[in-house]
């Protein structure tokens, strides 16, 4: 049974705002993420959840406010973070082994093999990415992210394009690997069930603001049949589907 014992803050967002061409995507976001915490960000498509992740990764910069990583202001690429994209983004001209070893030096081959072993693809090291299924590609992408032993793992809807069964398998794998190392993780997803299946805490973004901040107090490893699982899913889903305004100060409590 894993309880949430966080002492340090890994990432702090202070009044972060971001817009594109007169459209405000994120408005005055304040958020603290603790070291080792698994946070999920949900919301309707286009709500800005991916943008928030890209700001934390440093691939984009905020228009206002600031982001602190381990107390230091983030400027440019977040070097402690590794991101996993929805579309995998493996280099098609590199074999699996070389894809995983991207940007590494020294004994990267051995490390790549170990990383691939962890995601169950040790026997595919000499294949081209085109030969792999969608789920296998994402496993490779996960191995590629984790081989750097990042302090922060960012997951940008990594399972969005996979079928339901593969998705559940991948969620279990992501949780299992996270339990081993306890790096801080942020998962962006539109699938509330997925968020509840892996995260310690789920936030929901609506109209550029955090409209819900929900601790998921369920034992790990998570199971869909767990007591309380569906009630968390229902509550969050209901809140997402509810039309109308939000209040940033309103943080809802869920009673089980």
């Amino acid at each position: 049974m894993v309880k949430n014992h966080f002492h340090e803050t890994s990432i702090q967002l202070r009044n972060v705002g971001k817009g594109y061409e007169n459209r405000m995507v994120l408005d005055n976001i304040c958020l603290d993420i603790k070291k080792g915490e698994f946070l999920a960000i949900v919301g309707k498509s286009g709500c800005g959840k991916s943008t928030l992740l890209r700001l934390i990764s440093g691939l984009e910069s905020c228009d206002s406010g600031l982001i602190l990583m381990n107390g230091k202001e983030l400027n440019g690429l977040n070097k402690q973070a590794r991101i996993m994209f929805q579309d995998g983004r493996l280099l098609p001209w590199r074999k699996i082994l070389d894809n995983v070893g991207l940007g590494l030096q020294g004994d990267w081959k051995q490390k790549s093999i170990e990383a691939l072993d962890k995601v169950g693809l040790k026997d595919r090291i000499n294949d081209w990415p085109a030969k792999l299924s969608g789920g296998q590609k994402q496993r490779v992408a996960l191995a590629r992210a984790l081989i750097h032993q990042p302090e922060l793992l960012l997951l940008d809807e990594p399972l969005g394009a996979l079928d339901a069964l593969t998705r559940i398998e991948m969620q279990d794998l992501i949780e299992k690997l996270w339990l081993e190392k306890k790096y801080t993780s942020i998962l962006v997803t539109h699938d509330v069930e997925e968020a509840v299946a892996v995260a310690d805490r789920v936030i929901m973004i609506e109209d550029g603001k955090i409209a819900l901040d929900q601790i998921i107090d369920l034992p790990r490893p998570r199971q869909r049949s767990q007591k309380g699982f569906t009630s968390y899913v229902d509550t969050i889903l209901k809140r997402i589907m509810r039309p109308g305004g939000t209040d940033i100060h309103l943080v809802e409590k869920v009673r089980l």
């Binding site: 983004r89 280099l91 001209w93 590199r94």
Partner: protein, 254 residues
Amino acid sequence: MKTFIKEAVKSIIPWILPFLLLLVWQILSFDGIISSRILPSPLAVLKAFLTLSMTGELFDHVSISLERALTGFLIGGSIGFLLGLFNGVFKWLELFTDTSIQMLRNIPHLALIPLVILWFGIGETSKIFLVALGVLFPVYINTYHGIRSVDKRLIEMGKAYGLKGVSLFLAVIFPGALSSILVGVRFSLGVMWLTLIVAETISAHSGIGYMAMNAREFLQMDIIVLSILLYALLGKLSDVIARFFERKWLKWNT
């Protein structure tokens, strides 16, 4: 065994038509329906090939043509590749040079022949210059577009994984542009032979084109046809070589 026969038949089929054409040509020539003043028979061409090979004349002409073609190709191809590379990578350089390059590109390079002869005479330089000029633009355009059309998402991924500068170029940008660059190379090989034929026909003291023009003065039909066939053969050969490298380097794409 069955697949072996299938493969063998498959490799024979493309050659049936050329062989039949040769056969008909030979029969018509033999019957005198085609006059040898219009077109020599295939056997006469073969005889010319053997005679010229024996004297070593053929080898000299082919090797000098090949040398011109390759020298011009290497010079023009390198310049085109480097221009395409830098213009593809550095936006400000593209802004500076692209308009000029587009203007130059639209001049048919063969239109420069009178000028080139006045500049360089009819020596080696003029032919190599023309080939280089003809080859430059296809390589430039395809390299430039190849680099520009590399998947932006892969570049972003590379950056997020700590690649930058040369390492980003070698791991992501160049491999991503390679298939387009090779298309440019294959296209420019065609331009290479075309330019060389024209240049050698107009002004030369050696080479396949000269061999043909010289034969014209003595009405040696067989040698003229032999020259044309040699160009076809060399063109096909360079295409086969280019395809070989394409298959080797773009293995991931098949």
